[in-house]
Amino acid sequence: MTTAPTSALAVTGLNKAFGGVQAVRDVTFALAPGELLALIGPNGAGKSTCFNMLNGQLPPDEGSIKLYGHEIIGLKPRQVWRLGVGRTFQITATFQSMSVIENVQMALISHHRRLLSMLPFAGALYKDEAFALLDLVSMGAQAGRPCGMLAYGDLKRLELAVALANDPKVLLMDEPTAGMAPKERIELMQLTADIVGQRGISVLFTEHDMDVVFAHAGRVMVLNRGRLIAEGTPAQIRANAEVQAIYLGSGAVYKTDEDTAAGAAP
């Protein structure tokens, strides 16, 4: 036991290769309870691969992932969810043939372990709880709309409500604001920060929008070519020369394998 069990999520020595490409290399970090931790990095840095290993979608080649001290490697996504890890996707995944509220009710039905029940009307179950969750993300007014008719930003909100349905301890959010208008992004992230603050949920999120990251993350980690290269407060990351080189246009992200920090400026 190298990590204290007090971490919400303790990741040690995570590795994943696809064929010859080492997508994630020796990633080690801890998510403290109640923390809002951002994982940033350029395209192809391995953020989504990391995420998919954290909730069990992809098996890692090596490493350990502990949820409050409990090893979760080898578990399927549905088992990881039962342990209290919610997930939102980069490209939203919702139930298209259901209304907005039914999407939330579905998650609640699963949370209350009523999946196999064949007698009650599903539409009448956990309605108040579902409305409360929708109100939380300001979607209460759209509860009855078919999910397929929602604007993209609203789908993202709906995903957040669904992810909150099982009272998660940890929330994994893959690009929660991707595809949204700038104003919406700030609003949604502010909303997320408020909710997780109230509920004491720990959040790990990836994000491309640096404004969102620097405004809301408590701590930021930078992933490049599968490797964590920097970690610190938003201010520290903003000042980090290596990160600047990656983000602010050395253009040398893929120039050398080992060291991109010294990349020549264009």
């Binding site: 549905r78 995944a93 298209q96 009307f121 078919p146 397929g148």
Partner: protein, 622 residues
């Protein structure tokens, strides 16, 4: 040894014919995602056309030219069909095109009989290839040798086409990602028409080259279509090389299977397919089906419990059904009983494919197992009717437990084909196990108990059981389990991320659907007084699909209405005219084009249009 080698060559020759047909089917599916049920009909049309042309044109040039011209002519018909019919329904729900091509098949079957007559036609032998060559002291027909060469030659030409021409590269690109190709500014309509024509050309050529080998007859289409589907699935959908390998495999399997396992030769092909799909879920050279991008704005309307209008309609229908015996004689009651049974059958299939997202090409298996269950109970245990009604569905239940366990490991078309494989395995077991099932002669003497033996009594019994069954299915659809089943259909990713075990849920859905179908089968056996292998055969499965799609797959009431329309129509048309296939097929095509959401889907749309608040309003459904 020599004999085995000749048998090996025979296998290769039939593999070439199979490859021509299967490659066409595979190319069409790969690009357009159309499951072209009419492919067998075009194959048959190719054979008939080639017969006529080679009868009129003399000489070697006339013969070979005739074969080619026949294939080209059929390809042109195919292209026209694509332009006139299929283009209108690419946006319709999945599998709707299957229904349209099924209608086309019926039409072609009848037209062929009208034009060429019902008798088998013997075509000309190929000039220059009439003789045989001596191989290890055995005579082997030269024409078969030519066929052996033809398969690899066509494979080579297709490879050149797909790798060395711009058009071919576009086709391959579209097979991988249609939307991307469209986004690159390629004229998709023209590409689809071209691909469809090429596929039909190959299928028709496959039929044309048969004429020196076997008589041309009007059942060639169904014979070949199932084999072609099996090959396409074994090879991997969209893969031409895979289709070739699978053709050789099936060709040789047929050639040697008959020697090694004469008892189970019919089922061998399906057994092999089942094994391959369980080991390689996307066939030999297929790729996992890429996650279809859910295009925004193409939303499905959430299904809802009936409103007041709908409930009144159901009550009215029930009332009419209750007083039907007052008006109708025993013939009408017989027809009505059969329609009711198929309404339950269609509702059970809809639970599986509409709600569960598991398309079944073999739902007849559970219907047939129910029917045989009761016949066997009567034959061996002399179980009275009450016992039969309760116990017989257990056979369907058991079959669904067993087959479903394998099927839910797959998804999409591969799952559908595995259901077909299991249905065919069940069919050949009852067909060939004479001692127990009576084989082709079926089992007779399955009569209802005296209290239910009048048409009225049996009608009311059926009405009660089927109405309760359909209501139970509806109840399940709107229950938490029904929602869970639907969630697995909508998004496996999301379902998994909220704690839902897709395979377990779908397995349970599969079992429920199979059991309800089995109850239908039990009633059917009592209605007819006998069971035959036909009760478990492909046409029953296809009937079920047609009913569900016709009624509307995205509605819950649709399948029941579809069953009523289709069954009543087909019974009526068959009794009134000898052109029933032509009329029924045309009707299906018209219905598909007029109501791409199904009949009930259309009605619901109409109803909701008057009530614009519905589904758009900010309120939750009450």
């Amino acid at each position: 040894m020599d004999f085995l080698f000749i048998q090996f060559l025979n296998g290769l020759a039939s593999a070439s014919s199979l490859f021509l047909v299967a490659s066409g089917l595979s190319i069409i599916f790969g690009v357009t995602r159309i499951t072209n049920f009419a492919h067998g009909a075009f194959y048959m049309l190719g054979a008939y056309m080639a017969y006529t042309l080679t009868e009129h044109w003399s000489g070697a040039l006339g013969f070979w030219g005739g074969l080619l011209a026949a294939a080209v002519a059929v390809a042109i018909i195919g292209a026209l069909l694509e332009i006139i019919l299929l283009r209108r329904i690419y946006q319709a729900p999945e599998l709707f095109q299957l229904l349209a091509t099924f209608g086309v098949t019926l039409v072609i079957e009848d037209l062929v009989i009208q034009i060429w007559g019902a008798e088998d036609l013997l075509g000309r032998r190929a000039p220059g290839l009439k003789g045989s060559v001596d191989i290890f002291g055995q005579a082997f027909p030269t024409y078969e040798l030519m066929l052996i060469v033809l398969g690899p030659a066509v494979l080579g030409l297709l490879w050149l086409l797909f790798h060395k021409t711009r058009w071919g590269v576009l086709v391959r690109a579209a097979t991988q990602d249609r939307m991307m190709v469209a986004a690159l500014g390629v004229n998709q309509a023209r590409l689809f028409t071209g691909v469809f024509a090429l596929g039909i050309f190959l299928g028709a050529l496959g039929g044309a080259v048969q004429i020196p080998r076997e008589a041309v007859h009007n059942a060639m289409d169904l014979q070949i279509i199932v084999e072609a589907f099996v090959i396409v699935v074994i090879g991997g959908m969209g893969s031409v090389l895979g289709a070739f390998l699978a053709s050789v495999l099936i060709g040789e399997l047929n050639a040697f299977g008959i020697l090694l396992f004469p008892k189970i030769s019919i089922v061998l092909m399906f057994l092999v397919m089942a094994v391959i799909l369980v080991i390689r879920p996307w066939g030999l050279l297929g790729r996992p089906e890429s996650h279809a991008r859910s295009a925004l704005g193409t939303a499905e309307r959430p299904i809802r419990p009936l409103g007041r209008g709908g409930r009144n309609a159901v009550l009215a229908v029930l009332l009419v059904l209750l007083i039907l015996p007052v008006f109708g004689g025993s013939y009408l009651l017989n027809v009505a009983t059969e329609v009711l049974i198929f309404a339950l059958f269609a509702a059970s299939l809809h639970l599986m494919m509409g709600i569960g997202g598991m398309v079944s090409f073999g739902h007849a298996a559970y219907f047939g197992l129910g029917a045989y269950g009761v016949a066997l109970l009567v034959k061996f245990l002399e179980i009275p009717m009450a016992g039969g009604l309760v116990l017989a569905p257990l056979l369907a239940f058991t079959g669904a437990v067993l087959f479903g366990w394998f099927c839910v490991r797959l998804t999409g078309v591969y799952l559908a084909m595995l259901t077909l494989a299991f249905a065919q395995i069940a069919w050949s077991i009852v067909f060939q196990w004479d001692a127990v099932t009576g084989g082709d002669n079926g089992l007779l003497g399955v009569w209802p108990a005296p209290w239910a033996s009048t048409p009225e009594a049996f009608y009311y019994l059926t009405l009660a059981i089927c109405a309760v069954g359909v209501m139970m299915i509806r109840r399940i659809v709107f229950s938490p389990f029904g929602y869970t089943l639907r969630s697995c259909r909508d998004s496996v990713l999301r379902a998994d991320a909220i704690g839902i075990d897709r395979q377990r849920i779908q397995w349970l859905g599969f079992i429920l659907a199979g059991t309800f179908a089995g109850i239908g089968g039990v009633l059917f056996a009592y209605l007819k007084g006998s069971v035959f292998p036909d009760n478990i055969s492909i046409p029953i499965s296809v009937d079920g699909l047609v009913m569900v799609l016709l009624g509307g797959i995205q509605t819950v009431a649709g399948p029941v209405v579809g069953a009523g329309i289709y069954k009543a129509l087909s019974i009526f048309i068959i009794s009134e005219t000898e052109f029933w296939k032509l009329i029924l097929g045309t009707l299906i095509v018209i219905l598909v084009v007029a109501f791409p959401q199904g009949v009930v889907g259309f009605a619901v749309d109409l109803f909701r249009r008057r009530d614009p608040d519905d589904g758009e309003a900010g309120e939750a459904p009450a």
